[in-house]
Amino acid sequence: MMDNSSERVLQRYLGEIESELEQLPRSVRREITAEIRSHLVEKWRRCSKPTEENMLNIINNFGEPGAIAAGYLEERSTEPARSEASPPPAWLVIVLTIFLWPAGIILAWLSPAWKSRDKLIATLIPFFLAAVLAAARLLLEFLVG
């Protein structure tokens, strides 16, 4: 167990780091300080004498709270900026269409609420759409080319 004074020193240091990381979400800040705490506690326990003075030395050795926080903020700022709502990737749309459309059609054919004629129309709509799109593309290529 850690004595109270060492614990207080440690808490103050972690608190300073956390306040420097204000702009990050709380869960991220907590994760960061938990990991640093784990490091400092392990080092302290391995000391010949786990005292408050040694805790202070270990903390000094680890670095200034501002510098530590800057390290984390720098790592985050180098990541490419992403738009808030990115559209679903094309592969996902294709996969969902391929796999979900048959499921929908099977359900439609099983449903007593639909007449056979409606079921046939529902089944043929995608083929009709595909044909229209293909025709439109051919026309476009013809016009551009």
Partner: protein
């Protein structure tokens, strides 16, 4: 004078070291899952001493880039540790870096030693 010359010499080396450190940490995790304290210790033992505080933001970035994953573990009443494991993407990135690093070191060596590639 001497101090300035020394600084000018060491600064580029610090930059190179900084860039390579990321992959040294990744290589250590590739040997088997590890946690921050151990990584810092092994780096130190292998002669690549770095300020302890710099390794942790670096680990955060490796995880952000999905080169490693992590999991917290606690043994009984002990101090919980955050263990890192390398991912497939991490292994691929490491393999690529190894290749490029060797090439880079060879090229720099050749130039520094006044290599014989000019006229052939």
């Amino acid at each position: 004078m001497l101090y300035n010359a020394l600084m000018e010499l060491t600064n580029p080396l610090i930059q190179i070291k900084k860039g390579a450190l990321e992959f040294c940490v990744l290589a250590l995790i590739a040997r088997g899952e590890s946690y921050g304290y151990e990584i810092v210790k092994v780096l130190d033992e292998e002669g690549l001493t770095t300020p302890e505080g710099t390794v942790y933001p670096l680990l955060a970035r490796l995880q952000k880039e999905a080169l490693v994953t992590s999991s917290w573990r606690q043994m009984g009443e002990g101090n919980p540790r955050k263990y890192y494991q390398i991912t497939r993407k991490g292994e691929a990135a490491l393999a690529l870096f190894r290749e490029h690093w060797k090439e880079f070191v060879n090229t720099v060596d050749l130039i520094l030693e006044g290599g014989t590639q000019n006229d052939g």
